[in-house]
Symmetry: C3
Subunit: 502 residues, 3 copies
């Protein structure tokens, strides 16, 4: 991938013989940056600082041994030397070795210490490394930061995905100093508050595993299990118990999964658009968009993207499974046996017009639904989404999204055809799966239709432009953000408050 | 998606207890920024300005009520207060409430007003909001801008897709002041000209819906309809009219669509590479690359990417439809009936070598064509394309593109096999679809071969390096941009002038 | 695509009537930038400089003729004029016309010349254009750079993929000056060293064609050819030679390819995870992570991403080919003939439970393997990868990756079932393909299991946190980068040294 390609010169550049761009070094008041520790991170950091024109001094326990690891512009000396020379000191040691710094307390007094450490496993209670450091060096200003930045990002330069540097600390001045350094390296500093309040969170950040995906994935798995069991009882257990048909068990790996996946996909897709309806209903009843939603609804609205991608994944798997069906031995044997029957019965033509039409129709609608979901998935890629204006974003998420939900529901209805009315499809009195699935998407679609009624639509539009019932009654002319009408549309459309993009 | 994850600390950071990074605030001459209005946009803007170290004063009609909505570093006061204190004022009201600002005329005199408003529907004639504002405050310098920026982008910081801030206004100094502010927030200001000339365009920008996709999508739909009708008459109507075969109608949802899609895909792909041939021919005949192409050709060249993605979409759908064929009931019934025939006729083996080879061959070539198109589609993703150097870009678009066109054409030829010569395939004297499709791609392929002839190729290369016939005759040594040869290759390759990447 | 949409205003902005944002121009000491040459690149560069507030003077051989091509803020004059006025001069001519600049030697003395030129074909030995220029103008400081930047990037502004500007030159001051200019335009300057050492490399960079993909692609093709031949002999030649069955040849386009692709995919996937095992073994035996790996292992580790994507491509093609199987004429004829046999033999039911189960199982496992590989492929998209924290990255690459390898291996084992023990599958004494494929992935999986043994796992973890056997013996307390433990995890995980992400 080009990434490596672009890297190579950069890395070479770090080698002996390359010179820094003294750009900012020429500015007066560029702080002398010290780095304690000689690990991967301090090496990358030193290279990055040198390239941005900062004078760097590295404090090592064995300078002569470490010198070769650092760009030649960086001075590599003893920890004491480095600590006393530098204005701003990065502490790049393992927390468990902080104790070895005790002797530097005088040298570091009055200076800014940056704690870049991370825990090994999530540490929910207890004190953060940064607070331990602050306790060791009461005369220094400790700032927690850069721990969310990877040595890789330092080497290649920040990119859209990793441009933010989250900082916290008790001294605003110290944070400002570190913030300026961030900017000089091309990062975007974000102050998150005080050490006591945020250091622990920051140290846990790099250890978190897709937190925004937890609930969507769990609900997907839960739905899958539930529907799988239902289908197992309905399609496998029933024929076995009733007719002693043991062949039904061979449905388990593919066929049962393939009946379960579309059910999950459709329910998940309905769950993407349900919170929007709820929020709209709330706004209508409250007559304002400025009172916050209950937190569960906030969180739900904030997970629509993940829910949608889970739904797409299930739909795509369903497509693959379906396409596999005719390839299977079981399908082949069934055809052969049918052929045998047809011949022995002497039926020259077994064509059933209704069965043919039903399948042709639900196939084509299903393919359309999948196509629409694919477009939505592509549009949810960061770079693609970033380049959409608010109307395009709304059109994709709301317009195409509802079209996909409609197509998916239609696909299910056509698949069901008239089989809901055939008692033969009720095994153990359980209705066929598609009947269990349909209520939710149908409800969402109806609510959407309701919000399109002129009266409701107009009121909703007014509310989303900032109109408020309360005010209106007090005859106070509304006061609203011009940008709010459109930009806010996107802004909040993607944040937790607003639903105009649903 | 990680986006939310990175957001959370940022949002928390906005809450009470967080401090701004006074970074730039320390600089003298940082303007005091005023914001009139308390909507979504002004809230996000204030947070963003505060985080970048700007002193912010918000003018609200009900300060006490609004204070809670803004970061604590921002001063929230009356509109009059804010207007008189600030050096630079963002007007974040709905245009319809501009009138409520009449009283601030004195307070705002001599200051820079930024109009961030957007229309609700596209406003093609009429005056822009910015011009209305300028008329209300003749003593102030009005700059239109930030209306293309979403509150979301202000909260998360600019990304590649939304880094540009388009500005217009009549005072260069005012625009420079706003431009500097943009840079401080990490955006890239782009001056687009005077209010009268551009304000309306800017206000309409966020309301535009994929303008660059309109023509490609329309042509796709037009082609689809045309070919669908053709195939309907050829494959459905003809058997019905001639043989009264009503089963043919069941071909409509899937089979007819599946004959139409590849036709559209191939024609669209030919349309991607046709303008390149035309442009090359023009350059050859004119003997220079410096005279502009006719505007229709410019526009066509500028839409190649969209045309290509439409073609890919059709090809992908064609693949899915084809893979669905054997799964259908109709296919099953056909096999059963054939089996019946075979048995009753007593034919032990119905293998036809030619039919087998024909299908195996066009299948494998078709899969290759799809694979190549997929690579092209992936390479057209912003981040991937940005990381390609000009030669890689040319190789992908020109090399792989032509390979895909060749494979697609071959796929069609193999599908056609010898059936063009069987009068039985001419229904109502209409040739089979593949014969209607082939001429265009074949013409494009031939033109490309022609441009590979040494004589033409050499002349074309000279012209694209800036050589000009006219000059050449005047014996003036050419003068050309070194970068132009290669970088220009990419630059214009992706812009509207050049075709070196075709 | 939105890119064009955002472009339009920018381009308009370049037109007559637009004004520059004097932002930085107001700063004292903004250099007057000269550009020699009027090609595509110089036009884009001038527009970009003007928009960033630099005063620009363009030197043209025919100023009046060129003026219209440049933004009105740029002064277009004679080459001599431009050369004598400017502080910093971009030489944007074709190298072959450098001689025409001889007259400007006095005017350019003591100034910084930027050589932006590129070769037409890769120039491995010989002198670079930059060195030729330096030889022509001994009194000037020549800096090579911007040749890796496209006119397109200059027009649209830098993006993640193309933000770096690689520079080289002999004068640090000159490079610093150009570096500052880069920053002002939003690029990230990277000093790569001296002219003699690097200019040639830089000039060749834009001519390189996916260098990081060469070896992965070559190995893919090599494996494909080898396995294809093996399968051809095993499945096509053998039945023909033994039974004179000429129909077997019709397997070549699809079936043989479809047996070859999964073999290649699985071997490639094993090759992705093998170097990690080797590296871990080396680290364990050496007892340190600080001694470099042999260069072949370094290179191998650096190509894992490409190897993985090649493996995914083969797996995806395998899926498509497999789904095509039942659609083919040959499949249809086979079923018909089987039906005939079944009927004539009077077998009412040809169901074989084992064959059914075998296929259902390896199908479902295969689909899972493909799903996992798809997730990995998506996660390797730049924007997605950039947004992952180190633990998420490790989880994806190591966790999901091994899961995919396991699923792929299981898919193959289930496909093989008991057929390894049926001598009928040994044609010409050659075992069936799946047996040739399995050893490698099985070996990798076993090695991974070994590294999970508590003793080895613990030691490896210590080593990767910087513990060193040697040191340990000398009882020197280890000294390590705090960030190194986690960030370094990503940093080096993606660089060539470390394997913690494998």
């Amino acid at each position: 991938m080009p990434r490596e390609e672009m890297m190579r010169p950069l890395i070479r550049g770090r080698g002996v013989g390359s010179r820094p761009l003294e750009a900012s070094a020429s500015d007066p008041g560029t702080p002398l940056v010290g780095i304690l520790g000689t690990g991967d991170f301090s090496r990358s950091l030193s290279g990055c600082l040198v390239a941005s024109g900062y004078p760097v001094v590295v404090g090592s326990r064995s300078p002569e041994r470490s010198r070769a690891l650092f760009p030649e512009e960086a001075e590599v000396t003893s920890q004491m030397e480095a600590a006393s020379q530098a204005d701003l000191v990065f502490v790049a040691l393992f927390p468990e070795h902080y104790s070895t710094l005790a002797g530097l307390r005088q040298a570091l007094a009055g200076k800014v210490l940056v704690d870049v450490s991370n825990g090994i496993q999530v540490n929910l209670c207890g004190t953060s490394h940064a607070e331990q450091l602050a306790a060791m060096f009461p005369e220094s200003d400790v700032v927690k930061g850069f721990n969310t930045v990877s040595a890789w990002a330092l080497q290649t330069g920040p990119r859209d995905g990793n441009r933010q540097v989250l900082l916290c600390g008790d001294s605003a001045a110290a944070k400002a100093m570190v913030g300026q350094l961030c900017r000089a390296l091309g990062f975007v500093p974000v102050d998150t508050g005080l050490l006591a309040a945020r250091a622990l969170d920051l140290e846990n950040l790099p250890l978190r595993l897709f937190p925004s995906w937890r609930i969507p994935l769990l609900s997907t798995f839960a739905l899958f299990t539930a529907f799988y069991l239902y289908n197992f009882i309905h399609d496998v257990l029933h024929p076995f118990v009733m007719a002693g048909n043991s062949r039904a068990f061979s449905k388990m790996p593919v066929e049962t999964v393939n009946v379960t996946l579309p059910a999950v996909a459709l329910v998940m897709l309905a769950l993407v658009y349900m919170p929007g309806s709820l929020a709209a209903a709330l706004q209508l009843s409250r007559g304002t968009k400025y009172t916050r939603f209950p937190s569960w609804l906030d969180r739900w609205l904030g997970r629509r993207k993940q829910l949608g991608l889970c739904s797409f994944a299930c739909a795509a798997m369903h497509a693959v499974y379906s396409l596999c069906l005719p390839m299977r031995r079981s399908a082949r044997y069934k055809i052969l046996n049918e052929a045998y029957k047809q011949v022995t019965k002497g039926v020259p033509d077994s064509w059933q017009d209704e069965a043919v039409w039903r399948m042709e129709l639900y196939l084509s609608v299903g393919i359309m639904a999948l196509g629409l979901l694919s477009l939505l998935a592509i549009a949810s890629l960061p770079t693609v989404a970033d380049a959409l204006n608010w109307r395009e974003f709304t059109f994709m998420q709301s317009g195409l999204g509802m079209a996909a939900l409609t197509a998916g529901t239609l696909h299910t209805l056509l698949f069901g055809w008239d089989r809901a009315f055939d008692p033969g499809n009720y095994h153990f009195c359980l209705p066929p799966t598609f009947m269990v699935v349909l209520p939710l998407p149908l409800a969402v679609l109806c609510s959407r239709l309701a919000f399109c009624l002129p009266c409701l639509a107009a009121r909703l539009a007014r509310i989303r432009r900032g109109w408020e019932k309360s005010r209106h009654l007090r005859f106070v002319p509304p006061e609203e953000g011009g940008g709010g009408c459109s930009n806010g549309g996107v802004g909040n459309g993607r944040s937790l408050e607003d639903v105009s993009d649903v």
